[in-house]
């Protein structure tokens, strides 16, 4: 028990910035609490987020505000069909004065990247970004350069305009820790948004923490206790996506084309720990897993044509699994 107490104490100290962050983000972002919470979870768990939602739901504003509140560098990259990898990671430029090639860094050299409409760019550009996400480094010419830490990529996909897009391959989508569906704000929230945007003055977020504190928080998160029962619960959920018939979910067998990869289990455990951190707990409870299950697994499950024909989504499948597997 002493261990958990120690971890709890550490977390109380390390997670103190969460309230400050929420406060600063709340000045600018109204509603979208789930999205902001997931952004913080990904930031603390060293993951990346894929956002899906119609335009105008404060996706860009959220990550920009988060960057401002953390005093970190922010880059927004609009992905277009003519974008080249060099436009993203940088290139070598010939300097006539010095008569040598010099490095020109691309926008990927920032702490927070908003890759807007990632599926509009061709595969090689997507690969360049996804490789930098995975390796946390890029290679330009003969130079291999480390990306700054923390490094969080927030990529958006537009579900309405699918024409002229290059869908992300499953293997690359799998690298995102979470796929968050951003929904419209409630009526009350939209009323407040309306008032805030028509007010004569606007509030800007202050930098309340620095990137170093995030790095320290990541170390503390690793110490959060994850009981064997929770591990089993995570594995049961992930395995139920692969072999549903073994979990009394035979009806899902024809609806699932492929189940979650091991990254699903890893990210679900890491994200649950981060959730516990945000909730200032030194241990993970099933609720943490339940809350993040859809976000972590929805882009890792392939559905069959049969499911598509019946308008069954991966969320429906995950919910069915959650409603069948016993909570420890």
């Amino acid at each position: 028990m002493a261990d958990i107490r120690e971890i709890n104490e550490k977390i109380q100290v390390a997670s103190s910035f969460i309230d400050l962050l929420n406060l600063e983000i709340g000045k600018v972002i109204i509603g979208q609490k789930s999205m902001v919470e997931r952004l913080m979870i990904a930031l603390i768990a060293n993951g990346h987020v894929l956002l899906e939602g119609v335009p105008g739901l404060a996706k860009t504003l959220a990550i920009k505000t988060l960057a401002s509140a953390i005093d970190a560098k922010f880059s927004r990259i609009q992905f277009t069909p003519d974008l080249l990898p060099a436009d993203l990671i940088g290139t070598m430029i010939y300097n006539q004065k010095k008569e040598e090639f010099t490095l020109r860094y691309g926008p990927v050299f920032a702490n927070f990247i908003l890759a807007d409409e990632i599926n509009r760019a061709p595969a090689k550009v997507q690969s360049a970004l996804l490789e930098s996400m995975q390796e946390r480094q890029v290679t330009i010419g003969e130079h291999t350069l480390k990306l700054p830490e923390p490094f969080l990529v927030l990529a958006t996909e537009n579900p309405l305009e699918q024409e002229g897009t290059y869908p992300l391959p499953e293997a690359q989508v799998d690298r995102f820790m979470m796929k968050v569906i951003v929904n419209y704000p409630s009526r009350e929230e939209e009323k407040m948004i309306l008032r805030q945007n028509t007010a004569p003055t606007s509030q800007n977020p202050n930098a309340v923490i620095n990137p170093q504190q995030i790095m320290e928080a990541r170390e503390v998160v690793k110490e959060i206790y994850l009981d064997e029962k929770i591990e089993k619960y995570i594995l049961d959920i992930v395995f139920a996506t692969r072999k549903p018939e073994e979990y009394n979910l035979g009806r899902l067998k024809n609806l699932i084309h492929y189940g979650s990869s091991p990254r699903g289990s890893i990210f679900l455990a890491q994200a649950s720990k981060s959730m516990a951190f945000i909730k200032k707990r030194g241990f993970v409870i099933p609720e943490d897993v339940r809350l993040l299950c859809n976000d972590v697994l929805r882009h890792r499950i392939g559905i069959t044509y049969e499911a598509e024909a019946e308008s069954i989504t991966t969320d429906d499948i995950i919910n069915e699994i959650l409603n069948t597997i016993e909570v420890p």
């Binding site: 609720e287 339940r290 909570v327």
Partner: protein, 320 residues
């Protein structure tokens, strides 16, 4: 006189030529001059000449007259001192009845002095059909011949059949011995009312003295499982698949008693701490958890009416 000399010279020259020509001849013969249609007949050609004379054979294509050439042998050459003999055999046939003539064949004999032709004699052959006895009745076509039985002709079929029987035998055995698909073990016996089951299980758990023997995790896991199963059966929501917060939210919807809600909250939260945070509960926590669990069950037992048709719930319940 001069005329005589010229005459003598011409006589000598022509005489010599005549001598040579007379020594070259062609002999053509056939085996028979009567045959049935389709029968094959040998035509033997023999050319005899001096070595010095070059013989050019006539070109024989695929027929001689109206006879069909079945095959031709190579020309066999035999040398006898100053003579040379060429022999060739040609097989002929015909598929129509009638009389056929083998025309005279012309061979060219080339000598240094002159060139002459050697002609063979023409030959005749008649082909006839089979004589049909019209007095006898027409017979049916003969049936296929019976082949004597030989086991070796069927050996591969027999081996294949044996393998098929073995494969079917093993397939049947495999499917018979295969483990039946795991049946879902029901969590409860539907014949036993939820509250009776829950109270019995709590009694059983208490008698096992788990927490007294430091099995805190097992004690609280089982206690909350009994309680969750009871709530699931009693209030018809997925308590076993719900988290603490979800259970409390559902409980609040059906139970108005704040005390019961508070007690359930404490039971579930203590259990969460024990199960997931390695917390060691105090003996009071363990005793209270059991007491409150019993209280929750007893306070929510459905009240049966006299006619037993309609069941009502305890006054603590909202849904009556």
């Amino acid at each position: 006189m001069m005329r005589k000399i010229i005459f003598i010279i011409l006589f000598v020259i022509l005489g010599v030529y005549q001598f040579y020509a007379q020594n070259s001849y062609v002999k053509v013969s056939i085996d028979t001059n009567k045959a049935l249609i389709g029968d094959q007949v040998n035509l033997n050609i023999e050319v005899n000449s001096k070595k010095k004379i070059q013989i050019v054979n006539p070109i024989i294509t695929d027929s001689i007259g109206k006879l069909i050439v079945v095959s031709k042998s190579k020309i066999d050459t035999t040398i006898k001192e100053n003579d040379i003999v060429y022999k060739q055999k040609i097989i002929l046939t015909a598929f129509d009845s009638g009389y056929y003539q083998i025309p005279s064949m012309q061979f060219l004999a080339i000598d240094k002095l002159d060139t002459s032709f050697l002609n063979s004699n023409p030959l005749g052959i008649s082909f006839s059909t089979l004589a049909i006895d019209t007095t006898k009745p027409i017979k049916d076509i003969k049936p296929p011949l019976e082949i004597p039985f030989n086991i070796m002709d069927y050996i591969w079929y027999i081996i294949g059949g044996i393998f098929l029987i073995i494969a079917i035998f093993f397939a049947i055995r495999y499917f018979k011995n295969r483990k039946p698909t795991e049946k879902v073990i029901p969590r409860f016996d539907p014949k036993i009312p939820a509250h009776i089951q829950a109270l019995n299980d709590l009694k059983q758990l208490e008698s096992e003295k788990l927490w007294q023997n430091d099995y805190f995790k097992e004690y609280h896991s089982r206690l909350t499982d009994i309680l969750r199963l009871y709530l699931e059966r009693r209030f018809n929501f997925l308590a076993m698949e719900s988290t603490t917060t979800e259970i409390l939210d559902e409980f609040a919807k059906v139970i108005s008693s704040r005390d019961l809600h508070s007690n359930l909250n404490i039971i579930l939260n203590i259990a969460d701490m024990v199960k997931f945070a390695k917390q060691i509960p105090t003996p009071e926590d363990n005793i209270k958890a059991m007491e409150w669990a019993r209280q929750i069950v007893e306070s929510t037992i459905p009240i049966e009416t006299e006619d037993k048709d309609i069941s009502q719930t305890n006054p603590n319940s909202k849904n009556d």
